[in-house]
Subunit: 315 residues, 2 copies
C-alpha cells in the first residue's frame, strides 16, 4: 500500500506519497521555520493531512537531520533545528491517525538508494551524503546499521585530522569539515585568494559578493581549473575517509549523494585515487565500487516512506 | 552438543572442546610454525583429531589472524603467516570428517565476549583486542558485523594520524601503530631514552637487553611512573579511536581484550578521558561503557567453537 515520506531539511520540508516500488505519486514542499519546533511539527502534520486526502495510506515516515534514539522516537540533537531530546514521534502520533516512524535523514536517503537506486544490486553499502554537511548511512546484509543507541552511521563525524578544524559537533577534524559542500566553498575561497588558477573564482566572488554552491558548481561544470581543483581536494579527503571506513565497514559499494554529488565523475575520480593510495592491505581483498546516488532529490522522502512501511508491518 | 574451537596465533595454536554454555572441557596447545602453511594445517588437523577422540563433536571452528572472505572459506591475507588467498576451509574439510567454519581471530574473540563474557548483557558492542597488533570485532543487534567482502571490523587499521607511522598493512597512521602492544614497547623505549620518569625502564632495558611485554607489564603493575605514562599514551590514542568509532558504530559497550588489557583500569581511565574529550556531539547521547574482556586467554577458542556450532546449524 502507499506510504507517506516527509524529509525535514534545514531550509525546506519535502513530502511525498510513495508507492511500494518507490514511485512518487504526489508531492508537497514548504519552507522550514528552523527556529520553531512547534511550527515544524505543525507543517509536518498539515503536509501529512494534505497528502493523505482521498488516499489509502499505510504509514508515514519522517526523516529528520540529527541523532535519533534506538527506539526511533526521540531526536537527541539536531544542529540546525532547536531539537534537544525532542519526543518527535509522540508529538506526531498524538495528532495524526497513522503509524508514524522517524528516522535520520541520511539513513532514509541511504535506504532509498539501497532499495530503489544505486545500491539495489548489493547487500552491503555505505553512503555519504555530501550536502552542506556530510551525512552517512550503512546498509549491512540488507538492513540499516543503527548502532546500540541508534545514532550510528554519523559518518560526517569520523575524525580525519587530529586537532583539525573545529566541527559543529564540538569535536575537531571531522570529515564534515573537509568533505562537505561548506568545505568546498572554503577551499574555493582559498583558491580564489591566491590568484593563478583561482582567477575565475575570484572574478565570480567579486561579481556576486560571495561564492555559493551554484556558482562553484557552474564553474566546475565549465571545467574551470580552480573550481575543479577545489573539488579534487574535497574528493581526496573523502577518498581517505573511505579507506579508513573500508577497514571498519568493508562495503561492496560506496554511494555519494547530496548536492555536491551532481559533479559525478569529477568527484569520484579523486575519491578512487585517494582510496587506493590509503586503503589498508591494498590488493588483498576486492575493491568496492564508487558511484553517484540515483535518487538525489527524492531519496529522503522515498526512504522515509519505505522505512515507515517496513516498521509498520513489523509492529 | 560440544564443538571444537581452534585459535591459530602467530606463536601458538590453541584448541579446546567447548560446551554449549561456553565451558572448556579439554585443551591442547602447540607452537606455530609460522613459515609453513602445510605445517599449520597439519597441526590443526592433528589437534582436531586428538580433541575429538571419544567425544561427540557437532562442528569445529578455526580462528585465524587476517582477512577472511565473505563465504568464510578463504584467507585473503595474513600478515604473520604466509597465507595469500589460501582456501583454508577446503583444505581442512578434505581431511576432517566434521563441519568446519573459519573466522577471523578477533571476530571469534569478540563473539565469545558477546555470548559468554563482558558483552553478554548488550546487543551492540565493539571489541578491540590489544595484543601485538590491534584486532577488532563488531556485534550489532546480536550478530557479528562482517562487511560486504567479509573483512570488516579490521579496527586496527582505522587511520588515526594522516601520514602517520607506516603500518604492516601498507597504509600509514593506523591505530595499530599507536594502540597496540608493539606501540606500547615503542613508547616505553622512548621514555627510557629520556631519563627522568624513564629511569626504571632504562634500568630494566639494560638488565634484560631489551624491553618486552612482560617487563613493561610488571613495571606498570608496580606503578612505575614511566611505564604507566607509556600505558596512558596508549589509552589516550585508543580513546581517540573509540570517539571516531562511536560516530560510525555507536556501540553501547567497548570491550578491551588481548594481553595489554590485563592492565585493567590503568588502561581504561585514559581511554575514557580521551573518549570524552573527542567524542562528537558530547552530552547529546548516552555514553558507552568501557570494560575489560572476561575471557582473555580463551576467547578465541570459545568464540570459534560457538560460531562453528551456529554456522553448522544454519546450513
Amino acid at each position: 500500500m502507499d506510504a507517506i515520506g516527509i524529509d525535514i531539511g534545514g531550509t525546506k520540508i519535502a513530502g511525498a506519497v510513495v508507492s511500494e516500488d518507490g514511485a512518487i505519486l504526489a508531492e508537497e514542499r514548504v519552507a522550514t521555520e528552523a527556529g520553531s519546533s512547534a511550527a515544524i511539527i505543525d507543517a509536518v502534520v498539515a503536509m501529512v493531512e494534505t497528502l493523505s486526502q482521498g488516499r489509502q495510506i499505510e504509514a508515514a515516515g519522517v526523516a529528520a537531520p540529527g541523532f535519533i534514539d534506538v527506539d526511533q522516537s526521540t531526536v537527541y540533537y539536531t544542529p540546525n533545528i532547536s531539537w534537544r531530546n525532542e519526543p518527535l514521534r509522540d508529538h506526531l502520533r498524538a495528532r495524526l491517525p497513522l503509524d508514524i516512524t522517524i528516522d535520520n535523514d541520511a539513513n532514509a536517503a541511504g535506504w532509498a538508494e539501497y532499495r530503489f537506486g544505486a545500491g539495489r544490486t548489493v547487500s552491503d553499502m555505505t553512503m555519504l551524503t555530501i550536502g552542506t554537511g556530510v551525512g552517512g548511512a550503512i546498509v549491512s546484509r540488507g538492513s540499516l546499521f543503527r548502532g546500540g543507541f541508534g545514532a550510528g552511521a554519523e559518518l560526517g563525524h569520523l575524525r580525519i585530522v587530529p586537532d583539525g578544524l573545529p566541527c559543529g559537533c564540538g569535536a575537531h577534524g571531522c570529515i564534515e569539515q573537509y568533505g562537505s559542500g561548506r568545505a568546498l566553498l572554503r577551499m574555493a575561497n582559498e583558491i580564489a585568494d591566491v590568484g593563478g588558477i583561482g582567477l575565475a573564482l575570484a572574478d565570480a566572488r567579486r561579481e556576486h559578493g560571495q561564492l555559493d554552491g551554484s556558482i562553484v558548481g557552474a564553474l566546475i561544470a565549465d571545467g574551470d581549473p580552480g573550481a575543479v581543483h577545489a573539488l579534487e581536494q574535497l574528493g581526496n579527503w573523502l577518498g581517505q575517509a573511505c579507506a579508513s571506513l573500508s577497514a571498519v565497514l568493508d562495503p561492496e559499494l560506496f554511494v555519494f549523494g547530496g548536492g555536491v554529488a551532481v559533479a559525478g565523475e569529477l568527484l569520484l575520480a579523486p575519491v578512487r585515487e585517494a582510496y587506493r593510495q590509503h586503503v589498508p592491505a591494498k590488493g588483498y581483498h576486492p575493491e568496492p565500487n564508487f558511484v553517484i546516488a540515483e535518487l538525489v532529490n527524492n531519496a529522503g522522502v522515498v526512504g522515509a516512506a519505505d522505512l515507515a512501511r517496513i516498521h509498520s508491518r513489523a509492529r
